[in-house]
Symmetry: C2
Subunit: 219 residues, 2 copies
Amino acid sequence: MNRISESDTKTLILDAAEQAFADLGFDSASLRHIISVAGVNLAAVHYHFGSKEALIEAVFSRRLTPLNKERLKLLDQLEAEAGKSPLNVEKVIGVLIGPALRLARDPGKGGPVVMRLFGRTIAEPSEQLQKLMHGQFGDVIRRFTAAFRCALPGLPEDVLYWRIQFVIGAMAHIMCDPTGLKTMSGGLCDPNDTEKAISEMVTFLATGMRAEVSKRRKK
Amino acid sequence: MNRISESDTKTLILDAAEQAFADLGFDSASLRHIISVAGVNLAAVHYHFGSKEALIEAVFSRRLTPLNKERLKLLDQLEAEAGKSPLNVEKVIGVLIGPALRLARDPGKGGPVVMRLFGRTIAEPSEQLQKLMHGQFGDVIRRFTAAFRCALPGLPEDVLYWRIQFVIGAMAHIMCDPTGLKTMSGGLCDPNDTEKAISEMVTFLATGMRAEVSKRRKK
DNA sequence: GTGCGATTCAAACGAACGTTTGAACTTATC
DNA sequence: GATAAGTTCAAACGTTCGTTTGAATCGCAC
Protein backbone atom coordinates (compact mmCIF):
# COMPACT_ATOMS: atom_id res chain seq x y z
CA MET A 1 0.00 0.00 0.00
CA ASN A 2 1.38 3.33 -0.97
CA ARG A 3 0.41 5.46 1.98
CA ILE A 4 1.86 8.73 0.72
CA SER A 5 0.18 8.76 -2.68
CA GLU A 6 -3.13 7.51 -1.28
CA SER A 7 -3.09 10.24 1.28
CA ASP A 8 -2.14 12.73 -1.40
CA THR A 9 -5.00 11.94 -3.74
CA LYS A 10 -7.48 11.79 -0.90
CA THR A 11 -6.32 15.13 0.46
CA LEU A 12 -6.31 16.74 -2.98
CA ILE A 13 -9.92 15.67 -3.42
CA LEU A 14 -10.95 16.81 0.05
CA ASP A 15 -9.33 20.22 -0.44
CA ALA A 16 -10.89 20.80 -3.85
CA ALA A 17 -14.25 19.52 -2.64
CA GLU A 18 -14.51 21.74 0.40
CA GLN A 19 -13.59 24.76 -1.70
CA ALA A 20 -16.19 23.85 -4.32
CA PHE A 21 -18.89 23.08 -1.76
CA ALA A 22 -18.29 26.42 -0.05
CA ASP A 23 -18.34 28.37 -3.30
CA LEU A 24 -21.11 26.63 -5.20
CA GLY A 25 -23.14 24.66 -2.68
CA PHE A 26 -23.25 20.90 -2.29
CA ASP A 27 -25.54 20.21 -5.21
CA SER A 28 -24.09 22.61 -7.75
CA ALA A 29 -20.53 21.50 -7.15
CA SER A 30 -20.07 18.55 -9.49
CA LEU A 31 -17.53 15.77 -9.09
CA ARG A 32 -16.14 16.66 -12.49
CA HIS A 33 -15.42 20.18 -11.33
CA ILE A 34 -13.82 18.92 -8.15
CA ILE A 35 -11.53 16.39 -9.81
CA SER A 36 -10.42 18.90 -12.44
CA VAL A 37 -9.34 21.32 -9.71
CA ALA A 38 -7.72 18.51 -7.74
CA GLY A 39 -6.00 17.19 -10.86
CA VAL A 40 -7.06 13.60 -10.28
CA ASN A 41 -9.16 11.05 -12.12
CA LEU A 42 -12.94 10.99 -11.82
CA ALA A 43 -13.03 7.41 -10.60
CA ALA A 44 -10.67 8.26 -7.75
CA VAL A 45 -13.55 9.84 -5.87
CA HIS A 46 -15.49 6.59 -5.80
CA TYR A 47 -12.39 4.54 -5.17
CA HIS A 48 -11.41 6.53 -2.08
CA PHE A 49 -14.79 7.65 -0.77
CA GLY A 50 -17.47 5.48 -2.37
CA SER A 51 -19.96 8.13 -3.40
CA LYS A 52 -20.51 11.87 -3.55
CA GLU A 53 -22.61 11.63 -0.40
CA ALA A 54 -19.76 9.93 1.44
CA LEU A 55 -17.35 12.57 0.14
CA ILE A 56 -19.53 15.29 1.62
CA GLU A 57 -19.46 13.53 4.96
CA ALA A 58 -15.68 13.15 4.79
CA VAL A 59 -15.22 16.82 3.95
CA PHE A 60 -17.33 17.63 6.96
CA SER A 61 -15.87 15.33 9.56
CA ARG A 62 -12.30 16.30 8.75
CA ARG A 63 -12.97 19.87 9.91
CA LEU A 64 -15.99 19.71 12.20
CA THR A 65 -14.81 16.96 14.54
CA PRO A 66 -11.63 18.78 15.66
CA LEU A 67 -13.53 22.06 15.91
CA ASN A 68 -16.14 20.63 18.24
CA LYS A 69 -13.52 18.79 20.24
CA GLU A 70 -11.72 22.08 20.80
CA ARG A 71 -14.94 23.77 21.87
CA LEU A 72 -15.72 21.09 24.41
CA LYS A 73 -12.16 21.09 25.73
CA LEU A 74 -12.28 24.85 26.27
CA LEU A 75 -15.67 24.52 27.93
CA ASP A 76 -14.27 21.85 30.26
CA GLN A 77 -11.48 24.23 31.22
CA LEU A 78 -13.96 27.03 31.80
CA GLU A 79 -16.09 24.89 34.07
CA ALA A 80 -13.05 23.66 35.97
CA GLU A 81 -11.85 27.22 36.56
CA ALA A 82 -15.25 28.38 37.71
CA GLY A 83 -15.62 25.57 40.23
CA LYS A 84 -19.02 25.86 41.86
CA SER A 85 -19.64 29.51 41.02
CA PRO A 86 -21.76 30.41 38.01
CA LEU A 87 -20.03 30.62 34.64
CA ASN A 88 -19.31 33.93 32.97
CA VAL A 89 -21.60 34.53 29.97
CA GLU A 90 -18.98 36.36 27.95
CA LYS A 91 -16.57 33.48 28.37
CA VAL A 92 -19.14 30.85 27.40
CA ILE A 93 -19.97 32.76 24.21
CA GLY A 94 -16.29 33.26 23.51
CA VAL A 95 -15.71 29.52 23.74
CA LEU A 96 -18.67 28.79 21.47
CA ILE A 97 -17.89 31.25 18.68
CA GLY A 98 -14.14 31.82 19.10
CA PRO A 99 -12.87 28.52 17.70
CA ALA A 100 -15.31 28.77 14.79
CA LEU A 101 -14.29 32.27 13.77
CA ARG A 102 -10.61 31.55 14.31
CA LEU A 103 -10.90 28.81 11.68
CA ALA A 104 -10.56 31.57 9.11
CA ARG A 105 -7.14 32.47 10.45
CA ASP A 106 -5.70 28.99 10.51
CA PRO A 107 -5.02 27.46 7.07
CA GLY A 108 -4.23 24.18 8.81
CA LYS A 109 -7.85 23.98 9.93
CA GLY A 110 -9.20 25.00 6.54
CA GLY A 111 -9.07 28.79 6.56
CA PRO A 112 -11.89 31.07 5.43
CA VAL A 113 -13.25 28.43 3.08
CA VAL A 114 -14.21 26.10 5.89
CA MET A 115 -15.69 28.92 7.91
CA ARG A 116 -18.01 29.81 5.04
CA LEU A 117 -18.81 26.15 4.50
CA PHE A 118 -19.95 25.68 8.09
CA GLY A 119 -21.88 28.94 8.10
CA ARG A 120 -23.84 28.01 5.02
CA THR A 121 -24.54 24.47 6.12
CA ILE A 122 -26.57 25.65 9.10
CA ALA A 123 -29.19 26.92 6.64
CA GLU A 124 -28.90 24.03 4.17
CA PRO A 125 -32.23 22.41 3.26
CA SER A 126 -30.79 18.98 2.37
CA GLU A 127 -31.94 16.33 4.79
CA GLN A 128 -28.62 14.51 4.70
CA LEU A 129 -26.71 17.61 5.79
CA GLN A 130 -29.26 18.51 8.42
CA LYS A 131 -28.77 15.10 10.01
CA LEU A 132 -25.00 15.33 9.68
CA MET A 133 -24.98 18.76 11.31
CA HIS A 134 -27.39 17.80 14.06
CA GLY A 135 -25.45 14.64 14.79
CA GLN A 136 -22.11 16.40 15.13
CA PHE A 137 -23.32 19.72 16.48
CA GLY A 138 -26.22 18.55 18.65
CA ASP A 139 -24.06 17.36 21.51
CA VAL A 140 -22.11 20.60 21.49
CA ILE A 141 -25.30 22.64 21.66
CA ARG A 142 -26.57 20.52 24.54
CA ARG A 143 -23.37 21.07 26.50
CA PHE A 144 -23.47 24.81 25.81
CA THR A 145 -27.13 25.02 26.73
CA ALA A 146 -26.25 23.62 30.13
CA ALA A 147 -23.39 26.09 30.40
CA PHE A 148 -25.65 29.03 29.59
CA ARG A 149 -28.22 27.79 32.08
CA CYS A 150 -25.50 27.75 34.72
CA ALA A 151 -24.30 31.21 33.74
CA LEU A 152 -27.81 32.73 33.77
CA PRO A 153 -29.61 31.07 36.69
CA GLY A 154 -32.61 33.41 36.68
CA LEU A 155 -33.52 32.99 33.01
CA PRO A 156 -36.75 31.08 32.24
CA GLU A 157 -36.06 27.88 30.35
CA ASP A 158 -37.93 28.80 27.16
CA VAL A 159 -36.28 32.22 26.96
CA LEU A 160 -32.92 30.47 27.27
CA TYR A 161 -33.62 28.34 24.21
CA TRP A 162 -34.85 31.29 22.17
CA ARG A 163 -31.74 33.31 22.95
CA ILE A 164 -29.35 30.47 22.15
CA GLN A 165 -30.92 30.31 18.70
CA PHE A 166 -30.22 34.03 18.25
CA VAL A 167 -26.58 33.45 19.20
CA ILE A 168 -26.24 30.61 16.70
CA GLY A 169 -27.92 32.66 13.99
CA ALA A 170 -25.65 35.65 14.46
CA MET A 171 -22.59 33.41 14.46
CA ALA A 172 -23.68 31.50 11.35
CA HIS A 173 -24.40 34.67 9.42
CA ILE A 174 -21.01 36.22 10.13
CA MET A 175 -19.39 32.92 9.18
CA CYS A 176 -21.19 32.40 5.90
CA ASP A 177 -21.02 35.90 4.50
CA PRO A 178 -17.97 37.70 5.89
CA THR A 179 -17.56 39.95 2.83
CA GLY A 180 -21.12 41.25 2.98
CA LEU A 181 -20.24 43.25 6.07
CA LYS A 182 -17.27 44.89 4.36
CA THR A 183 -19.41 45.84 1.36
CA MET A 184 -22.26 47.19 3.45
CA SER A 185 -20.01 49.25 5.70
CA GLY A 186 -18.15 50.73 2.74
CA GLY A 187 -14.92 49.11 3.85
CA LEU A 188 -15.20 50.45 7.39
CA CYS A 189 -15.50 47.00 8.97
CA ASP A 190 -12.85 44.37 8.30
CA PRO A 191 -14.26 40.85 8.59
CA ASN A 192 -10.72 39.46 8.47
CA ASP A 193 -9.99 41.04 11.84
CA THR A 194 -11.05 37.91 13.65
CA GLU A 195 -10.39 39.12 17.18
CA LYS A 196 -12.38 42.29 16.57
CA ALA A 197 -15.26 40.19 15.26
CA ILE A 198 -15.16 37.93 18.31
CA SER A 199 -14.97 40.90 20.65
CA GLU A 200 -17.95 42.65 19.03
CA MET A 201 -20.00 39.47 18.97
CA VAL A 202 -19.27 38.63 22.60
CA THR A 203 -20.27 42.10 23.77
CA PHE A 204 -23.48 42.17 21.73
CA LEU A 205 -24.58 38.62 22.42
CA ALA A 206 -23.68 38.48 26.11
CA THR A 207 -25.59 41.70 26.73
CA GLY A 208 -28.58 40.30 24.86
CA MET A 209 -28.34 37.09 26.85
CA ARG A 210 -28.55 39.07 30.08
CA ALA A 211 -31.45 41.22 28.90
CA GLU A 212 -34.35 41.58 31.30
CA VAL A 213 -37.06 39.08 30.47
CA SER A 214 -39.82 40.84 28.54
CA LYS A 215 -43.10 41.25 30.37
CA ARG A 216 -45.16 39.36 27.78
CA ARG A 217 -44.71 36.09 29.74
CA LYS A 218 -46.97 33.04 29.53
CA LYS A 219 -47.97 32.53 25.97
CA MET B 1 -56.12 36.80 -24.24
CA ASN B 2 -57.37 34.49 -21.56
CA ARG B 3 -56.35 36.33 -18.43
CA ILE B 4 -57.84 33.91 -15.95
CA SER B 5 -56.23 30.74 -17.24
CA GLU B 6 -52.91 32.49 -17.83
CA SER B 7 -52.96 33.77 -14.33
CA ASP B 8 -54.00 30.35 -13.08
CA THR B 9 -51.17 28.45 -14.69
CA LYS B 10 -48.67 31.10 -13.73
CA THR B 11 -49.83 31.07 -10.12
CA LEU B 12 -49.86 27.29 -9.96
CA ILE B 13 -46.25 27.25 -11.12
CA LEU B 14 -45.21 30.02 -8.74
CA ASP B 15 -46.84 28.26 -5.78
CA ALA B 16 -45.30 24.89 -6.55
CA ALA B 17 -41.93 26.47 -7.28
CA GLU B 18 -41.65 28.41 -4.05
CA GLN B 19 -42.59 25.33 -2.06
CA ALA B 20 -40.01 23.24 -3.92
CA PHE B 21 -37.29 25.88 -3.63
CA ALA B 22 -37.88 26.20 0.09
CA ASP B 23 -37.87 22.43 0.65
CA LEU B 24 -35.10 21.33 -1.69
CA GLY B 25 -33.07 24.42 -2.56
CA PHE B 26 -32.93 26.22 -5.86
CA ASP B 27 -30.66 23.78 -7.62
CA SER B 28 -32.11 20.53 -6.38
CA ALA B 29 -35.69 21.50 -7.16
CA SER B 30 -36.16 20.47 -10.79
CA LEU B 31 -38.68 21.94 -13.18
CA ARG B 32 -40.10 18.47 -13.67
CA HIS B 33 -40.81 18.19 -9.97
CA ILE B 34 -42.39 21.62 -9.91
CA ILE B 35 -44.68 21.06 -12.88
CA SER B 36 -45.80 17.69 -11.60
CA VAL B 37 -46.89 19.29 -8.32
CA ALA B 38 -48.49 22.19 -10.15
CA GLY B 39 -50.23 19.83 -12.56
CA VAL B 40 -49.15 21.72 -15.66
CA ASN B 41 -47.07 21.00 -18.71
CA LEU B 42 -43.28 21.27 -18.65
CA ALA B 43 -43.16 23.77 -21.50
CA ALA B 44 -45.51 26.09 -19.61
CA VAL B 45 -42.62 27.20 -17.44
CA HIS B 46 -40.68 28.52 -20.40
CA TYR B 47 -43.79 29.91 -22.07
CA HIS B 48 -44.74 31.99 -19.03
CA PHE B 49 -41.36 32.77 -17.51
CA GLY B 50 -38.67 32.10 -20.12
CA SER B 51 -36.20 30.11 -18.06
CA LYS B 52 -35.65 28.55 -14.66
CA GLU B 53 -33.54 31.52 -13.66
CA ALA B 54 -36.36 33.90 -14.53
CA LEU B 55 -38.79 31.69 -12.61
CA ILE B 56 -36.62 32.01 -9.52
CA GLU B 57 -36.67 35.77 -9.87
CA ALA B 58 -40.43 35.77 -10.30
CA VAL B 59 -40.93 33.60 -7.21
CA PHE B 60 -38.80 36.04 -5.30
CA SER B 61 -40.24 39.33 -6.46
CA ARG B 62 -43.81 38.23 -5.87
CA ARG B 63 -43.14 37.94 -2.13
CA LEU B 64 -40.13 40.10 -1.39
CA THR B 65 -41.30 43.31 -3.04
CA PRO B 66 -44.48 43.67 -0.94
CA LEU B 67 -42.58 42.64 2.19
CA ASN B 68 -39.96 45.33 1.78
CA LYS B 69 -42.61 47.90 0.83
CA GLU B 70 -44.38 47.14 4.09
CA ARG B 71 -41.17 47.49 6.07
CA LEU B 72 -40.38 50.86 4.54
CA LYS B 73 -43.95 52.09 5.05
CA LEU B 74 -43.83 51.15 8.74
CA LEU B 75 -40.43 52.80 9.06
CA ASP B 76 -41.84 55.97 7.50
CA GLN B 77 -44.63 55.94 10.05
CA LEU B 78 -42.16 55.42 12.87
CA GLU B 79 -40.02 58.34 11.76
CA ALA B 80 -43.07 60.55 11.34
CA GLU B 81 -44.28 59.73 14.85
CA ALA B 82 -40.86 60.35 16.38
CA GLY B 83 -40.49 63.74 14.73
CA LYS B 84 -37.10 65.14 15.60
CA SER B 85 -36.49 62.98 18.67
CA PRO B 86 -34.34 59.83 18.34
CA LEU B 87 -36.07 56.65 17.26
CA ASN B 88 -36.80 53.84 19.67
CA VAL B 89 -34.51 50.86 19.08
CA GLU B 90 -37.13 48.28 20.01
CA LYS B 91 -39.56 49.75 17.50
CA VAL B 92 -36.99 49.87 14.70
CA ILE B 93 -36.15 46.20 15.24
CA GLY B 94 -39.83 45.36 15.43
CA VAL B 95 -40.42 47.00 12.07
CA LEU B 96 -37.45 45.17 10.54
CA ILE B 97 -38.23 41.67 11.74
CA GLY B 98 -41.97 41.82 12.43
CA PRO B 99 -43.25 41.80 8.85
CA ALA B 100 -40.82 39.02 7.96
CA LEU B 101 -41.83 36.73 10.81
CA ARG B 102 -45.52 37.50 10.34
CA LEU B 103 -45.23 36.12 6.81
CA ALA B 104 -45.57 32.71 8.39
CA ARG B 105 -48.97 33.62 9.74
CA ASP B 106 -50.42 34.99 6.52
CA PRO B 107 -51.12 32.42 3.81
CA GLY B 108 -51.90 35.28 1.44
CA LYS B 109 -48.28 36.38 1.68
CA GLY B 110 -46.93 32.87 1.32
CA GLY B 111 -47.06 31.44 4.82
CA PRO B 112 -44.25 29.50 6.50
CA VAL B 113 -42.89 28.33 3.16
CA VAL B 114 -41.93 31.83 2.09
CA MET B 115 -40.44 32.60 5.46
CA ARG B 116 -38.14 29.60 5.20
CA LEU B 117 -37.33 30.50 1.60
CA PHE B 118 -36.18 33.99 2.55
CA GLY B 119 -34.26 32.77 5.56
CA ARG B 120 -32.31 30.26 3.53
CA THR B 121 -31.59 32.62 0.67
CA ILE B 122 -29.57 34.93 2.89
CA ALA B 123 -26.96 32.16 3.14
CA GLU B 124 -27.25 30.98 -0.48
CA PRO B 125 -23.93 30.74 -2.31
CA SER B 126 -25.35 31.24 -5.82
CA GLU B 127 -24.19 34.50 -7.33
CA GLN B 128 -27.51 35.12 -9.05
CA LEU B 129 -29.41 34.96 -5.77
CA GLN B 130 -26.85 37.03 -3.91
CA LYS B 131 -27.34 39.81 -6.47
CA LEU B 132 -31.10 39.43 -6.39
CA MET B 133 -31.14 39.60 -2.62
CA HIS B 134 -28.71 42.51 -2.43
CA GLY B 135 -30.65 44.40 -5.06
CA GLN B 136 -33.99 44.06 -3.33
CA PHE B 137 -32.78 44.03 0.27
CA GLY B 138 -29.88 46.46 -0.01
CA ASP B 139 -32.05 49.57 -0.02
CA VAL B 140 -34.00 48.32 2.96
CA ILE B 141 -30.82 47.72 4.92
CA ARG B 142 -29.53 51.18 4.03
CA ARG B 143 -32.75 52.78 5.31
CA PHE B 144 -32.65 50.73 8.51
CA THR B 145 -28.99 51.49 9.07
CA ALA B 146 -29.88 55.17 9.07
CA ALA B 147 -32.74 54.47 11.45
CA PHE B 148 -30.46 52.59 13.87
CA ARG B 149 -27.90 55.37 13.66
CA CYS B 150 -30.61 57.83 14.64
CA ALA B 151 -31.80 55.60 17.45
CA LEU B 152 -28.31 55.05 18.87
CA PRO B 153 -26.50 58.36 18.46
CA GLY B 154 -23.51 57.47 20.61
CA LEU B 155 -22.59 54.24 18.83
CA PRO B 156 -19.38 54.25 16.75
CA GLU B 157 -20.07 53.73 13.08
CA ASP B 158 -18.19 50.43 12.72
CA VAL B 159 -19.85 48.93 15.78
CA LEU B 160 -23.21 49.89 14.30
CA TYR B 161 -22.51 47.87 11.15
CA TRP B 162 -21.29 44.85 13.10
CA ARG B 163 -24.39 44.81 15.27
CA ILE B 164 -26.78 45.16 12.33
CA GLN B 165 -25.20 42.03 10.87
CA PHE B 166 -25.90 40.20 14.14
CA VAL B 167 -29.54 41.29 13.96
CA ILE B 168 -29.87 40.07 10.38
CA GLY B 169 -28.21 36.78 11.24
CA ALA B 170 -30.48 36.07 14.19
CA MET B 171 -33.54 36.92 12.11
CA ALA B 172 -32.43 34.79 9.16
CA HIS B 173 -31.73 31.77 11.35
CA ILE B 174 -35.12 31.85 13.05
CA MET B 175 -36.74 32.23 9.64
CA CYS B 176 -34.93 29.41 7.90
CA ASP B 177 -35.12 26.76 10.59
CA PRO B 178 -38.16 27.36 12.80
CA THR B 179 -38.57 23.68 13.71
CA GLY B 180 -35.01 23.33 14.96
CA LEU B 181 -35.90 25.40 17.99
CA LYS B 182 -38.84 23.19 18.84
CA THR B 183 -36.71 20.06 18.58
CA MET B 184 -33.87 21.48 20.63
CA SER B 185 -36.10 22.75 23.40
CA GLY B 186 -37.96 19.45 23.60
CA GLY B 187 -41.20 21.12 22.55
CA LEU B 188 -40.93 23.86 25.15
CA CYS B 189 -40.64 26.64 22.57
CA ASP B 190 -43.29 27.05 19.90
CA PRO B 191 -41.87 28.66 16.76
CA ASN B 192 -45.41 29.09 15.43
CA ASP B 193 -46.13 31.59 18.17
CA THR B 194 -45.06 34.46 15.97
CA GLU B 195 -45.74 37.25 18.43
CA LYS B 196 -43.74 35.48 21.13
CA ALA B 197 -40.87 35.08 18.69
CA ILE B 198 -40.96 38.76 17.77
CA SER B 199 -41.14 39.79 21.41
CA GLU B 200 -38.17 37.61 22.40
CA MET B 201 -36.11 38.78 19.45
CA VAL B 202 -36.85 42.45 20.05
CA THR B 203 -35.84 42.19 23.71
CA PHE B 204 -32.63 40.31 23.00
CA LEU B 205 -31.52 42.30 19.97
CA ALA B 206 -32.43 45.76 21.26
CA THR B 207 -30.52 45.09 24.47
CA GLY B 208 -27.54 43.91 22.46
CA MET B 209 -27.78 46.97 20.25
CA ARG B 210 -27.57 49.19 23.31
CA ALA B 211 -24.66 47.29 24.86
CA GLU B 212 -21.76 49.36 26.09
CA VAL B 213 -19.06 49.53 23.46
CA SER B 214 -16.29 47.09 24.36
CA LYS B 215 -13.03 48.63 25.46
CA ARG B 216 -10.97 46.97 22.75
CA ARG B 217 -11.41 50.01 20.45
CA LYS B 218 -9.15 50.99 17.57
CA LYS B 219 -8.20 47.91 15.67
C1' DG C 1 -68.46 29.23 -38.23
C1' DT C 2 -64.30 31.07 -39.66
C1' DG C 3 -59.90 33.01 -38.54
C1' DC C 4 -56.40 34.16 -35.32
C1' DG C 5 -53.67 34.91 -31.37
C1' DA C 6 -52.98 32.78 -26.84
C1' DT C 7 -52.11 28.72 -24.51
C1' DT C 8 -51.25 23.74 -23.81
C1' DC C 9 -49.30 19.47 -25.01
C1' DA C 10 -46.23 15.21 -26.03
C1' DA C 11 -41.92 14.44 -27.70
C1' DA C 12 -37.42 15.12 -28.43
C1' DC C 13 -32.79 17.75 -28.00
C1' DG C 14 -27.95 18.00 -26.32
C1' DA C 15 -25.48 18.54 -22.15
C1' DA C 16 -24.16 17.34 -17.63
C1' DC C 17 -24.70 14.50 -13.81
C1' DG C 18 -23.13 10.33 -10.45
C1' DT C 19 -21.58 5.92 -11.10
C1' DT C 20 -19.40 1.62 -13.05
C1' DT C 21 -16.14 -1.05 -15.65
C1' DG C 22 -11.99 -3.33 -16.95
C1' DA C 23 -7.57 -2.60 -18.39
C1' DA C 24 -3.05 -0.28 -17.33
C1' DC C 25 0.14 1.10 -14.12
C1' DT C 26 2.75 1.29 -9.60
C1' DT C 27 4.72 -0.57 -5.54
C1' DA C 28 6.05 -3.91 -2.11
C1' DT C 29 7.22 -9.02 -1.20
C1' DC C 30 9.40 -13.08 -2.22
C1' DG D 1 11.86 -11.06 -12.35
C1' DA D 2 7.29 -13.05 -11.10
C1' DT D 3 3.17 -12.41 -8.07
C1' DA D 4 -0.32 -9.86 -6.06
C1' DA D 5 -2.48 -6.05 -4.01
C1' DG D 6 -3.18 -1.09 -4.31
C1' DT D 7 -4.02 2.69 -7.24
C1' DT D 8 -4.89 5.31 -11.51
C1' DC D 9 -6.90 5.82 -15.91
C1' DA D 10 -10.01 6.53 -20.25
C1' DA D 11 -14.29 5.27 -21.63
C1' DA D 12 -18.77 4.30 -21.26
C1' DC D 13 -23.24 3.48 -18.55
C1' DG D 14 -28.08 5.03 -17.70
C1' DT D 15 -30.51 8.99 -15.76
C1' DT D 16 -31.91 13.50 -15.23
C1' DC D 17 -31.44 18.13 -16.23
C1' DG D 18 -33.10 22.78 -18.70
C1' DT D 19 -34.61 23.87 -23.06
C1' DT D 20 -36.76 23.66 -27.76
C1' DT D 21 -40.03 22.30 -31.25
C1' DG D 22 -44.23 21.95 -33.86
C1' DA D 23 -48.64 20.34 -33.73
C1' DA D 24 -53.07 20.43 -31.11
C1' DT D 25 -56.36 22.99 -28.51
C1' DC D 26 -58.73 26.83 -26.64
C1' DG D 27 -61.37 31.45 -26.48
C1' DC D 28 -62.98 35.25 -28.54
C1' DA D 29 -63.78 38.85 -32.54
C1' DC D 30 -65.84 39.32 -36.85
